[in-house]
């Protein structure tokens, strides 16, 4: 007895379906078309070009590495004394610091270097914010900014000396000198120095003007670029998301970072003073203080300082505040921190004010649309939302959380090399335009970052829910092109070359 399936097989195997009328003519027509099409073979450029573009983008992104100041998004606790230690020998190609507008209602802040406008680009930074006893400036210290050094023996002083006796490569720096004083420049590049620099450079307070990042260092990742060329930018991005790129950061001094470190050091020093004297301060005061330090060239008296704070709603009526104003005045009007550390002496106890900055990996979500332009080639665009969170932590003032939101429109050409019912795998490259929707610091708006554009390389995996709708996960590498100086310090500014994983819903329009 035959199986029913075998019966089906027997019935259908020899069965000749009736051919439709004109099928032979249609066969002739198709045959002729096929013959003429065979004569015009598709140019291999159709396949080579997108692959070459993706490979070239991968090579470009990896070979063209802007020097990033050390920040790898990793947390790092740095003693305040370390902040002022710098290797400034790579500031030869100093670029003029561009003032960055902030959302603060303050006057436009001026770059720190205006304080030392007569100073050459290479400067030593005062060992500011070194734990030391804060006391009103005396005549001995007038004209000099406290550099964090003291001759009087105290535990903090010992600590300070210990800092000064740091391993080779560390450069003792002094703060900006009076116009008449020339800074001492000690260039001692070295691994330890570079290491310190690298780990201390990501300290920008969010509303402080950002110095333009230098591009002194570049790394030759020929092997990585070769692999990327072979696999395409998208596959490499998939691998790269699992690699810690902290060691890619520049180990040389970016332009202007020394000024930033001074500004930050001064800021911490002032906070020290406030804490030691029990002066309460609010986040608004901190913002105003930063703005003041960057605008100090426009201030020439205590009254100016008072007016500066009052313009920003800071109450200066507290008697202890007046004492602080004097302290500020003596430190700022007379050149701020001195370039001669030994001039800057104080009996105040040293306060260890550590700072920690963490730029968290961004989160991206998107709604994407793609349409085929050729077999296996798709043009992809859509809307991509990005959220950048940074945490600024000071041991004296606590945590500050910055959140910046961006909306981007990518435009990308994707090559789908695997496609089936459930899954699409693809690689692609393109560009993205991004607009900042807004940023907050501890819930308070601090304005918006500027428009930016990025080069994109991506690889992706799409789960096909239906014929036209899919959910995708897309590791991507992007390089943020510097069109304008950024306003905010985020993971983006620290990592112009950035890896991220985007996910979203994609609509395929056939």
């Amino acid at each position: 007895m035959k199986n029913w399936e075998d019966i089906i097989k027997d019935k259908l195997e020899g069965y000749e379906s009736p051919l439709p009328e004109g099928s032979l003519a249609e066969f002739h027509s198709r045959r002729d078309s096929a013959r003429s099409a065979a004569a015009k073979k598709r140019s291999p450029l159709v396949w080579i070009l997108p692959t070459a573009v993706a490979a070239g983008l991968a090579a470009f992104l990896f070979l063209r590495q802007p020097g990033t100041p050390g920040g790898d998004g990793q947390d790092s606790w740095q003693p305040s004394t370390m902040i002022a230690v710098a290797n400034t020998d790579t500031t030869d190609a100093a670029e003029p610091v561009q003032p960055v507008r902030t959302a603060q209602p303050a006057q436009p802040v001026q770059p720190v270097q205006q304080v030392q406008s007569s100073q050459p680009a290479q400067q030593l930074i005062a060992q500011a914010a070194t734990p030391k006893a804060a006391q009103p400036a005396t005549s001995d210290t007038q004209g000099t900014a406290s550099s964090g050094q003291t001759e009087k023996a105290d535990p903090a002083g010992q600590q300070q000396e210990a800092v000064q006796a740091e391993p080779t490569g560390q450069t003792e720096t002094t703060g900006p000198a009076e116009p008449a004083n020339q800074p001492q420049v000690t260039n001692q590049p070295g691994p330890a120095d570079n290491q310190d620099v690298r780990t201390t450079t990501t300290f920008d307070f969010p509303t402080v003007e950002l110095q333009k990042v230098g591009r002194d260092a570049s790394y030759n990742y020929a092997a990585l670029a070769t692999a990327g060329s072979a696999l395409g930018a998208g596959l490499l991005a998939t691998l790269a998301t699992n690699i810690n790129f902290g060691w890619l950061a520049s180990n040389t001094e970016p332009d202007g970072a020394s000024e930033m470190r001074y500004a930050h050091a001064e800021f911490l020093k002032f906070l020290n003073y406030l804490d030691l004297h029990g002066i309460e301060y609010t986040p608004e005061f901190e913002y105003a203080l930063i703005a003041l330090m960057h605008n100090s060239a426009a201030i020439s008296s205590s009254a100016d300082i008072i007016g500066f704070f009052e313009d920003r709603g800071i109450d200066t009526s507290d008697p202890s505040f007046a004492e602080y104003i004097d302290y500020l005045a003596s430190n700022m009007f007379h050149g701020g921190s001195t370039n001669n550390p030994k001039k800057d002496q104080t009996d105040e106890p040293q306060v260890d004010n550590r700072q920690k900055i963490t730029h968290h990996m961004p989160i991206k979500a998107a709604l994407s649309v793609r349409t085929p332009v050729a077999e296996k080639l798709y043009l992809t665009t859509g809307l991509e939302y990005s959220r950048y969170v940074s945490t600024y932590t000071y041991s004296l003032s606590g945590n500050h959380k910055q959140v910046a939101n961006y909306l981007g429109i990518p435009l990308r050409m994707d090559w789908t090399f695997v496609s089936n019912r459930w899954l699409d795998l693809y690689v692609g490259g393109g560009v993205e335009a991004e607009w900042c929707l807004g940023a907050t610091m501890d819930g308070q708006s601090i304005g918006k970052d500027k428009f930016s554009m990025s080069l994109l390389g991506a690889g992706g995996l799409q789960l096909n829910v239906t014929k036209n709708i899919g959910i995708y996960v897309e590791p991507e590498v992007s390089w943020k092109m510097t069109l304008e100086d950024p306003v905010l310090a985020t993971y983006r500014t620290e990592h112009p070359l950035m890896f991220a994983v985007a996910t979203g819903i994609r609509l395929t329009i056939d």
């Binding site: 029913w4 019935k11 259908l12 051919l19 066969f27 096929a34 065979a38 014929k467």
Partner: protein, 186 residues
């Protein structure tokens, strides 16, 4: 003249580009290839297109054909058609997604006499209405004689998966047969 050529000679003439030989090849095998394509395609129009493309592809590659006995030319053409059908199935976002919950197959198998009474057109229609995976597995295993291992390699599924899909295809076809018989009894 071409009607009297055996498969080997016909293939030889086709290699030379003889249009009349190609027409003869079409006349000989198009109907059977169309039957095969109807088993794999979703509808008649797709099956016709697949048939035409398969024969044209076969003629393009006729120089690679090696005669191995009677029926080898049709077997060679049918393998080309099957490969094209499977590629099409894999490329498409399969239009039908089976949502039925698997239940134990308790449907009795139809007997020979029942099967003998079912016309081929109806069988082709039922088979073409199967979901893509089930249709492919059923055709490959039951009619075209491939093993589950081979089917797994062709479709990118496991052997066990192929067997499971085949069971579902069988159950669905038996349900179609049973429904047909019930309708016929009324």
């Amino acid at each position: 003249m071409y009607k009297e050529l055996d498969e080997q000679e016909l293939a030889r003439y086709c290699v030379k580009g003889d249009r009349l030989a190609e027409d003869e090849l079409y006349r000989r095998y198009a109907a059977r290839v169309l039957t095969l394509c109807r088993r794999y395609a979703d509808n008649t129009d797709d099956a016709k297109d697949l048939m035409q493309d398969a024969i044209i592809r076969a003629l393009d590659k006729i120089s690679t054909f090696t005669y191995s006995g009677k029926g080898s030319l049709y077997a060679w053409i049918s393998r080309i058609a099957i490969n094209m059908a499977l590629n099409q199935i894999k490329r498409q976002r399969w239009k039908t997604v089976s949502l039925d919950v698997w239940q134990r197959d308790n449907i009795p198998e139809p007997g020979e006499d029942v099967m003998a009474a079912i016309p081929q057109e109806l069988l082709l229609e039922w088979i073409s209405k199967l979901p893509d995976v089930r249709k492919a597995v059923f055709n490959l295993y039951c009619i075209d004689g491939y093993s589950h291992k081979q089917i797994g390699e062709m479709l990118g599924i496991s052997e066990k998966g192929s067997a499971g899909v085949l069971a579902k295809a069988r159950k669905q076809l038996k349900e179609s047969i049973r429904s047909y018989l019930k309708e016929k009894e009324r």
